[in-house]
């Protein structure tokens, strides 16, 4: 056997001593270097989900609309009329820290391939981003560089390939300074009878490589994403791939066209772990083997070793299995688009991944060994560690000017200020389907062919999850569904991105498990099964991990013809209705729960206590109320009350193109500060034509939902009272100027 592999080499590859022992025992020999490379990426956290797999099983994954659940490149749901939508979210966190522009760009490229590899045409992208504060005196300059790079990278790739980036969300905390999160969601649509799966089939059928040539970039990217960063993380820059959206645009069109020939039996993109993962997974899913000859793989660099070819993560490549005898139809299409398409091997009956180089076998491993036999850990966990105190500072009664100052601070905070600077860099309109773009509660695209529209929302709140991961996950699911409800859409299915620190630390593992369980409970409650997603662990640099930051992406179905109701007041003289009431979920431990608010973080300057309370049944009733009102055209506007509470939500409602002001009086027994800034869920602000007020009240009361009329739109000011007591009246134009300009000013600083 070759002397090049030893336990020491295996450890360098990120395998543990125990894992290496298991490799040698099951193989009955020492692996070759190429084999070790293959095993190390397939068994990496990124590819094998070895720390999370056991717990992911707790998530609900089936439902009447689910056509394809987890395990494929993306989940697929039935959207009616013979049409389907494929969607998934995926992270590119580690690469985006090392090389923000390319890291984020290739994140977009990767998730888009996951969508079109199933036969769907990608029609929407959303992204959830987490950065360190751009205005931090110490880390600000680095954070701003990362923010600018990531946004430019997403814009570059998405704009060029012609898929609109229609929405997303963005939040900031010190823990993300050295661990930014870039989670990209993509959705595609297609006919239900043209779904393609990533399974090899038919012994003797040709295995065909298409797309970009293989180079030395991105080698071991999956392993990089499965470890913490240290001082030498800059040295990992070569592990980040380089994207070419033009090439991917050609690949997209060519693949969809080639699929229409009927000659393709299975197809899979080459993402993490490149040729290794695609051959092993396609063989594994099909219950067959695959044999390839690396000499035939199109190569960008001379003299690449088998190890390098198998582990390269060069972008814009796909692997497909065609029907023997019909290869030429496939080749023809790729020639038209000027792309390489080469037969590199064939499907075999033996269930093995056999790799040859210059005719000599350099690796021979069972597909089952690589995927099914990958390690599965039930990692030890404690209870989640409390990092913030349960009790916060004593907050004396606030004066009107103090309340207004608080609102202005929130409107200027990176978390709540307008993100126009980000989303105007994205082409959110291309393909002319975007009926509700970025800046609202949910993005909506029409599916012209199917006569329906799809609403999408991404939500996550790391501040809540840090205080209670289970409750935080519940609240994310609830908010996501509520956002969809504001545009009249029925939530149908979900995808999740689980961003956490090092799972080998028991308190981190506890966060992960609690969040998964909470998410599973909530997705069952709201009938939004999870069709797939992504787990990103080891988001730690120099031992400093992130707050638990799960992100939910939920898709909702909306019939075309639902009257458009944006988030902002449209005309003066409408009644303002607060569906859900001022403080749903009760006032139990309100002082503690107030500590998780954006007000606590940005104005008080610390967080404490617990996330807001949630009554799941009441939340569902509120959502149903809002959906019915919006669908019946009774709402002129509908806006979720989220971060920053009622004060911020009311201000945002005034920030439409017409800048319609409002006079509001909130009935509340609680101090004005809590009434204005507490972040209780289950609340939506509507503006309603006075003549529709009765009907709106009837819908709400019929579902047992409190829906007080709290004021009237109109005027140039936002004037707010709590239980008759005047708090403040501020010109909408001034508030808008603060909100609209803050982020650009913070992020454009040198």
């Amino acid at each position: 056997m070759r002397p090049e592999v030893s336990e020491e080499v295996a450890l360098e590859h990120g395998l543990t001593a125990g894992e290496y022992l298991s490799v040698t025992q099951r193989l009955g020999r020492v692996p070759t270097l190429t084999e070790l490379g293959i095993v190390s990426v397939m068994w990496s956290e990124h590819c094998s989900y070895k720390s999370s797999r056991l717990h992911l099983k707790k998530l609900p994954t089936s439902g009447e609309r689910i056509l394809v659940g987890p395990g494929e490149n993306a989940g697929i749901v039935d959207i009616g009329g013979g049409w389907a939508a494929a969607f998934k979210i995926e992270s590119h966190n580690h690469p985006s820290y090392i090389e923000p522009f390319q890291g984020a760009a290739t994140g977009v490229g990767g998730i888009l391939r996951d969508i079109f590899t199933m036969g769907a045409r990608p029609v929407a992208v959303l992204d959830a981003l987490r950065f360190g504060p751009p205005d931090d005196p110490e880390t600000g300059p680095a954070n701003r560089r990362i923010i600018r790079g990531v946004v430019e990278g997403i814009a570059h790739y998405g704009n060029c390939i012609g898929v609109p980036t229609v929405g997303g969300e963005c939040a900031f905390a010190p823990c993300f300074s050295a661990n930014p999160l870039v989670n990209v969601f993509a959705l595609g649509v297609f006919r239900q009878d043209s779904i393609f799966l990533g399974a090899a089939q038919g012994v003797g059928n040709p295995v065909i490589y298409v797309g970009a040539k293989t180079g030395r970039d991105g080698i071991k990217g999956a392993s990089m994403a499965s470890a913490e960063f240290d001082e030498d993380s800059d040295a990992k820059r070569p592990n980040v791939q380089v994207g070419d959206p033009f090439l991917e645009k050609l690949l997209l069109e060519a693949c969809l066209e080639a699929m229409r020939t009927g000659a393709i039996l299975g197809i899979q993109d080459m993402g993490a772990a490149g040729l290794t993962c695609s051959t092993a997974e396609m063989g594994g899913r099909g219950g067959v083997g695959i044999e390839i000859e690396l000499d035939r793989v199109p190569q960008r660099d001379a003299g690449m070793t088998p190890y390098e070819i198998m582990l390269s993560e060069s972008q814009e490549r796909m692997l497909l299995v065609a029907e023997r005898g019909r290869e030429s139809e496939v080749f023809e299409v790729f020639r038209k688009w000027g792309l390489d398409a080469v037969e590199i091997g064939a499907v075999t009956p033996d269930g093995l991944l056999r790799v040859k180089h210059h005719g000599r076998v350099v690796a021979e491993l069972g597909n089952a060994f690589l995927s099914d036999d990958a390690p599965l850990y039930d990692r030890p966990r404690t209870t989640p560690r409390r990092t913030a105190p349960l009790q916060g500072p004593e907050l004396p009664g606030a004066t009107g000017p103090e309340l207004l100052a608080g609102l202005e601070t929130l409107l200027a905070s990176p978390d709540l200020s307008s993100k126009r600077w980000i989303w105007e860099q994205y082409d959110y309109q291309v393909r002319t389907n975007t009926t509700a773009g970025p800046g609202g509660d949910a993005a909506v695209i029409r599916v012209k062919e199917a006569g329906v529209s799809l609403a999408m929302s991404l939500d996550g709140n790391a501040r809540y999850c840090a205080l209670d991961p289970r409750q935080g996950a519940w609240l994310s699911v609830a908010e996501c569904c509520r956002n969809l409800s504001t545009v009249g859409a029925q939530p149908i299915a979900a995808t999740n991105n689980l961003n956490f620190g090092n799972p080998e630390k028991p308190e981190i593992m506890a966060q992960l498990v609690e969040a998964i369980e909470g998410m599973g409970e909530a997705c069952r409650h709201f009938a939004t099964p999870i069709t797939g997603g992504n787990v990103s662990l080891y988001n730690e640099t120099l031992g400093q991990g992130i707050d638990p930051a799960p992100v939910m992406g939920i898709v909702g179905l909306q019939d075309n013809g639902v009257p458009p109701a944006g988030p902002c007041f449209a005309t003066a003289g409408d009644a303002i209705v607060l569906v859900g009431g001022v403080l749903p979920g009760g006032t139990d431990s309100l002082d503690r729960r107030f500590g998780s608010s954006q007000y606590a973080a940005s104005v008080v300057g610390q967080t404490w206590g617990l996330p807001p309370a949630l009554d799941p049944d009441y939340e569902a009733a509120v959502q149903e109320t809002v959906r019915r009102i919006v669908r019946r055209g009774l709402a002129r506007s509908a806006h979720d009350v989220g971060s920053g509470g009622l004060a911020v939500a009311l201000a945002e409602c005034c920030f439409g193109p017409q800048r319609v002001g409002a006079t509001v009086d909130l009935p509340s027994d609680w101090p004005a500060r809590q009434a204005l800034f507490h972040e209780a869920p289950s609340r939506v602000l509507l503006s309603v034509d006075r003549s529709d007020l009765r009907e709106v009240a009837l819908v709400a009361s019929g579902l047992g939902v409190d829906a007080p009329s709290v004021g009237e739109t109109g005027g140039a000011d936002l004037a707010v009272r709590v239980s008759g007591e005047a708090c403040f009246a501020a010109p909408v134009d001034e508030l808008h100027a603060i909100w609209d300009s803050a982020f650009e000013r913070q992020v454009e600083r040198p």
């Binding site: 814009a155 704009n159 060029c160 390939i161 012609g162 070419d244 959206p245 033009f246 090439l247 645009k249 050609l250 688009w337 000027g338 989303w423 105007e424 860099q425 994205y426 082409d427 959110y428 309109q429 291309v430 393909r431 002319t432 975007t434 009926t435 029409r446 012209k448």
Partner: protein, 229 residues
Amino acid sequence: MKFGVVIFPGSNCDHDAHYALSRNLGQQVAEIWHESENLQGVDAVFLPGGFSYGDYLRCGALARFSPVVRCVREFALAGGPVLGVCNGFQILCETGLLEGALVRNQGLRFICRSVEVLPATADSVFTAACEPRRPLRIPIAHGEGRYVADKATLDRLEASDRVAFRYRGENPNGSARGIAGVLNEGRNVLGMMPHPERACDAALGSTDGTAVFRSMIAAWEDARASHAA
């Protein structure tokens, strides 16, 4: 009327133009592949937005060497109406059918936004149906849409009434003299950065873009009627 929508590798607004022309305006549409040696007998050519040939070298620079652009050039020189939007505008400048050039936006960022443009002349097959002095609400989506030309060229364009559209209010990309679209000397070739094909459907918030296509259709119908008479 039969429009030809040219498809280059990297075009990404071809589908939008196709949909707007066929579904919103009820016209015939032919897709013309970049390697095509003829224009399938179309009555007008639409060069769509996107990133033709990856915008390698320079936006629109490679497209000018494609077989189809040779045909488009001949078609334009013979008086056929040619509309280039966004990347299509860049291509028309690169081919020399239009004067001036498009460079990176002032501010150096890609901008996607709905803007107002004013038709600056009624004397063209693209603007005749626009109401004078009524601004059109049409989206822009570009990183390199800042129109530049030397002073003599700009003066000449204005003197010969060849500025088709100007940005109203803010000048989003820093274009010289607020120019959003220009005509050739024959007035049958228009390049513009705003996307009229994205403003043809009430569901998307504006139908102002139809004015450009309605002008083209009316001109074609007039020509056919006078030909018949």
